[in-house]
Symmetry: C2
Subunit: 343 residues, 2 copies
DNA sequence: GTGCCGCGCGTAATCGTTTACATCGCGAGC
DNA sequence: GCTCGCGATGTAAACGATTACGCGCGGCAC
């Protein structure tokens, strides 16, 4: 592969001039400029990004650490990040499936010097301190972290409000016996969504009972199990709030198999508004989370920090949610059937 | 951030020794080894990846160029790549949403020197030559490219066989009037799947008629439109093969709204077996494509080429498909309802 | 005692750029 | 005619690592 020296030699100029041509740093005559560009094209030359990064200490790449890539939740988040990064001419160095904190630390290390900033989605509670300890000197934004992470910039989801809104909606439709299927207990989203459920139930006179809280793990399978349990309960709840859409899908499938009709016999609602939610039968009432925007905000915050503006104080951005009423809860739908198709 | 020099100074050794410690290249006494490691830990030192890459010309990163990140198809492919890369200690530099070939070329350039190999999913027919012209000196694997790309290593999907198998299955259930909804004409998958449909129809005595071929664009919306059209046809086809699962979902939704029952009135089948396929109502009969394996094979081929083995001749790997019978086609299902849940 | 071997380590070149600083030539101003 | 200023270009020092090569030294064989 041709280097800057080859181009300089063939064009009869110094490497500095070639460099200046490729960096638009003016002060090079139109003639030499053209010559250099011609020679470069002939040699298929393009500046080596790594060498460039070494001297400028800018990589034009952002690191993205995710716990997983499966499912539409992560898929949408990373898509949002990609869109935002692309708009700013940044590359993405992704790394997922970090089972434990140790793996996360080793991933962090190998990113040293390769990225200008980092976006981390770390479900583990002890992750933040590990990150602080082993990260390089690049800025970091935590997406959807736990409580009380003061030291980092964060972007999170208004889980509590969203859950409250959807449960309040179910109560407003006349339901009193509203069950919930939770996510894994250690997960912060799950915890906050459960708290939102409790708050709404208390505030609006829902029935409070421990058997109405069914534990799941965010998977479709756990939703199915919960759905089967709900179908068999005596008396049966008249509504179910699942802490994410995948579990809601499982609940609906299990209810259907047990001969329980949705929404006539039991209303169902989910959380996240992943793309498939609208394609389920019946279309799922859920809480819309701007997953794309989550990524956009993380990237833009990172760029802000880098550019020096506003660097000192970590900011805590909370993404608000919107209730999306579809047919699964039995209320008149607020959304046209063909609307908002995401292709 | 501490550099190798800082560590060398504090540990009272030369930079070469520090380097040797971090590269396990033997020939360093246990005592100095320990000292160096201690000092490094104290200074939070870790070798700078960029500097390392510059001299070794190994980046331990793979580039991934995709047309898009949306939807479960791409999501699964990239997940497969990620899994395979992680298993080999490689990072992923992803870049998506390349509307045209020009954008692809500029992305390719900026990858120069930053990756050890490249995986490209380029739907455009003219892409391969553009890639060859502007790529660096790293190996390239094309995933699911068009016909006749002899110069590159490729991994593709057995579209023709898969489509033939599913259509043959519909015919074996007694259907004769089988419609198909195609993908965009320019897309190679769409073309091959349509060819497979035609081949099966001809071979097994299906009804051949041009109005049975309905054009779509792989989006759920186009599937809905096709479904509405099918519901209104006289006489109505008794089965539909949609060229991907998203369109099949749209077809089923539109049929349902038109009061046409699936599978009693019309059998429906799709292609790809994306994760949501099993959660649709009824669960979708489709052609399973090992999307994860697609990624795995691309990565392993790249690694093979790098390691020098078997470098010369481009290989063309074809991933076979499997028919997955679920309830949407009315045949006895081959899959237990709870089976194969992907979490 | 001498020569040789090999371990442990240091010196310095190198990777491909960017960029501060030096240099050169040339027209303007006096 | 001499200096000054400035635009265009070259020289060389970084950036942070890896690694070929060389060197000192202790032990062993003769």
């Amino acid at each position: 592969m041709a280097t800057i020296k080859d181009v300089a030699r063939d064009a009869g100029v110094s490497v500095a001039t070639v460099s200046r041509v490729f960096n638009d740093s003016g002060l090079v005559s139109e003639d030499t400029r053209r010559t250099v560009l011609d020679v470069a094209a002939k040699l298929n030359y393009w500046p080596n990004g790594v060498a460039r990064s070494l001297i400028t200490s800018r990589t034009h790449a952002l690191g993205v650490l995710l716990p997983d890539l499966a499912g539409e939740f992560f898929s949408e988040v990373i898509r949002g990040i990609d869109l935002a990064a692309r708009a700013r001419g940044l590359h993405l160095l992704v790394s997922s499936s970090h089972a434990d904190t140790r793996e996360l630390v080793s991933a962090l290390r190998s990113l040293r010097g390769r990225i200008d900033g980092l976006i981390v989605m770390a479900p583990d509670v002890d992750a933040p301190s590990a990150i602080r300890a082993s990260a390089g000197d690049f800025p970091i934004v935590l997406v959807d972290p736990g409580y009380g992470v003061e030291e980092f910039d964060t972007v999170s989801i208004a889980n509590h409000e969203g859950a409250q809104a959807v449960v309040r909606h179910l109560l407003s439709l006349g339901h009193r016996r509203v069950a919930t299927v939770t996510g894994p207990l250690s997960n912060i989203d799950a915890e906050q969504r459960l708290a939102g459920y409790h708050a709404a139930m208390r505030a609006a006179g829902g029935e409070i009972a421990s058997d109405l809280v069914i534990h799941g793990d965010f998977s479709e399978a756990s939703g199915r199990a919960a759905g089967a349990a709900i179908a068999a309960m005596q008396p049966r709840p008249t509504a179910v709030f699942a802490a994410n859409d995948y579990m809601a899908a499982g609940v609906m499938a299990a209810l259907g198999e047990a001969g329980v009709r949705v929404p006539q016999d039991v209303a169902v609602a989910g959380f996240d508004d992943i793309p498939i939610a609208r394609y389920l039968t019946p279309p799922l009432t859920t809480v819309h989370v701007g997953l794309l925007e989550l990524g956009e905000r993380a990237v833009s915050r990172l760029v802000e920090i880098q550019s020096g503006r506003d660097s000192a104080v970590p900011q805590h951005d909370v993404l608000s949610t919107t209730l999306v009423v579809r047919r699964s809860c039995g209320a008149p739908s607020g959304e046209p059937l063909m609307g908002k198709a995401r292709s």
